[in-house]
Symmetry: C2
Subunit: 440 residues, 2 copies
């Protein structure tokens, strides 16, 4: 069989860009043998053409002139690995208008401007492939879109940010506090110099926006996602939660109720220790998905890193070149928001169990006060933890796990607790997420 030559242009020669270039250069033969496609790296565009990189490109490939890519009609696929949302958006739009299909790992851009970009692609008869934008190398986008196409997806629970999971794993397993764990993560290369986007939950929200759009088949915007990060998490709460049988994870959660309301949330979540997501440690990612026909399915792997991300980018390049992505993309019928906006559940209306810790004065009547406020807000207690002995300033921690209730009720109760004279600091509240486990 003849080989089909596929010329690829890369924009952005950072870590992932190096990985993609390396795969295309090193694996061309094996990819050709498997797929019939011979990938050729036509050009790599970066404003910085001088810095040393871990990969040496053939002469004449690296350029700072984006036009060399745009105006080369032989280049069918443009890969945007610049990151950020401003320049990257213009780069993608220009490549689409120049008749090139786009492959990208840019979750921030897709989460913020995806719907606009998808429309631009369709108008130009092109496609955008974005497997690498979510959970790195794990083929989760195609898994949902193709593998689960016959399923009505009711829920997804994902650990999709390796930085946060690395930090929380170290806080849990090594008894480090947040600052120590973050320093470790930076030293090991699992956190950026400015880790804000990761630890704030923002990065997970980007990924959830993209995954939920595909899973639930409607236009989701970043504003639809409630986000809470891990910056405020203390190792004391991880320990107390552990005593109650829970592990703390930053989860990205998408749920669709029977009446089609969609709840989208990223927040620290206590999950049962025997849940399959509880033992996903370090920088790894995993996503559990529940489908009407398939039941539970879980994907696990490296969510970031040069070669895992490059693996997903090159898989997309292959899929685009084979024509599969174009078909999938055209048929990715995101219901236009203007016509049928999805019903997004307000965070106050979401129902959850809660872990609450209050630091109280060690004196008679305190439990009665706490109980009264919870009762007034119809919050039922499922477990209480108070160790003997007392902490500094004569305060003791009282830890309560609640039965399911609306977030709004809990918020009202927290306000009430905060006003008590006997409660000495702002109550801590962490959601307990009961992830179903499909069993025999």
């Amino acid at each position: 069989m003849d080989e089909k030559i596929v010329k690829v242009g890369l924009v952005g020669f950072g870590t992932v860009g190096c990985g993609v270039a390396k795969l295309i250069l090193d694996e061309a033969d094996s990819i050709a043998a498997k797929t019939g496609l011979r990938l050729e790296l036509a050009c790599v565009v970066d404003i910085d053409t001088d810095s040393a990189r871990p990969l040496k490109l053939p002469t004449g490939i690296l350029t700072n002139d984006f036009d060399k890519l745009l105006k080369n009609d032989a280049i069918q696929i443009g890969v945007e690995l610049v990151g950020g949302t401003k320049a990257a958006k213009q780069i993608q739009l220009k490549m689409l208008k120049a008749g090139k299909d786009v492959v990208t790992a840019n979750k921030a851009l897709l989460a913020e401007h995806g719907n606009e970009l998808y429309r631009a692609a369709l108008e130009n008869g092109r496609c955008i492939a974005f497997e690498a934008s979510c959970a790195g190398g794990i083929p989760i986008v195609s898994g949902i879109r193709t593998g689960l196409a016959a399923n009505n997806i009711s829920a997804m629970y994902g650990i999709v940010n390796g930085t946060c999971n690395y930090i929380l794993s170290n806080m849990t397993n090594k008894d480090e506090d947040f600052a120590e764990a973050l320093t470790q993560a930076k030293q090991k290369g699992y956190a950026e110099a400015d880790p804000t986007l990761d630890i704030s939950g923002g990065d997970s929200a980007h990924k959830l926006t993209i995954l939920a759009s595909i899973a639930f088949g409607c236009e989701i915007t970043l504003d639809d996602v409630f986000v809470e990060g891990i910056e405020e998490i203390s190792k004391a709460d991880i320990r107390y939660g552990g005593e109650m049988g829970y592990i703390l994870k930053l989860l990205a959660i998408g749920q669709k109720s029977k009446d089609n309301r969609i709840s989208l949330r990223v927040h620290p979540s206590f999950i049962a220790k025997d849940n399959r997501l509880a033992n996903i440690d370090g920088s790894f990612n995993a996503v559990s998905i529940f489908g009407s026909a398939i039941g539970q399915v879980m994907y696990y792997g490296r969510g970031a890193g040069m070669m895992p991300a490059a693996s997903a980018v090159v898989a997309d390049i292959i899929d685009v070149a084979l024509g599969n992505s174009a078909t999938s993309f055209r048929h990715l019928r995101l219901k236009s928001r203007s016509k049928t906006a999805p019903m997004i559940e307000k965070i106050g209306d979401t129902v959850s169990r809660f872990y609450v810790r209050v630091m109280v004065k060690d004196q008679p009547g305190v439990f009665a006060q706490i109980g009264k406020i919870l009762a007034e807000n119809a919050i039922s207690i499922s477990g209480v933890l108070q160790h003997e002995g007392r902490g500094p300033d004569n305060t003791v921690p009282v830890v309560i796990a609640t039965h399911p209730n609306k977030q709004s009720k809990l918020t009202a109760a927290l306000d009430g607790l905060d006003k008590l004279d006997t409660v000495c600091s702002k109550p801590v509240c962490i959601r307990i997420v009961d992830i179903p486990e499909d069993k025999d």
Copy 2:
């Protein structure tokens, strides 16, 4: 956007057939909304048109006349769910010749005659899609073929038979012996009336043949796979192995060495208790794959059952109708065996660690005898377990874990041990498989 009508004909109206028909009938609207394809069930062929089924078909759909499917040119996709290898092969060949693409869950047929069927499909310009043949609803075939296309796959370790995993889980967790666990499995519907194909490892070997062909990109035949079942497993060995830190699983293993020798084996395997595959319980399936770029990736979900299997079949129908399967299938360049036969490693040459149990007379010198025979075969001991006290007939179990060695050396040592006067029954040998775990 206009909907494209896709007429589907089904052959075989058993459990999975009912599931597929149900999905097509019930989910037509939601599939159309997601994919732009309106699936229509044109006919269901079965020799038995009388028995009651859990699903009522619209009038005129069920027939015992295969020609109604074959001669209906409007039917683009024929789904073979008959099972078995004789009639099913003819059914697939006839459908391909009649110009229909084929979707099937028939792993036995593909493992035994897949290469012939693939060629027939290519000759007729058609494709065969077989996601449902391996690990039920888990999208593993497309995961390997598409998601990991940029990777050189070095190994896969799979729990791909729900019946065996259910039996071994019960033997491990409920201290049942093999016969009890098998009876349980039958009662719960996890084992067939005749469970031979499952417990012999044959079914796992079928799936390994198919998955290895895709992962390693060469023609694999069923004969290339070494197979050992779980029929001889005793709960005593599960317990002793457990004391040494292992869990027993029936693994399907495919490994490619650096010099491209391929080892394909299905056998009971002791794996470390903290390995991710060790806690896959009951009828669930999971496959860990190691790729050059992506590192480790694991897929987990239901490996069998009416709706999970139907989910995979319908995903394939959609993929075929979108034209994606045809592209993937044409480019699935299995190197013809006649030209470049893969180098399959003989089982005697495979290197492994081993768990060995010998029932010995409780008398002086026995350990020395055992040690001498192992030493003569250059087998080094990594662990020994002998509890105090003695069993029936004044025999005691001596359990040995070895360092890695060639299977052929171990076999010679077992022969030697068997001949000892002090060894009272055939030595038991179970492979210890050190599955790597990708870690931070």
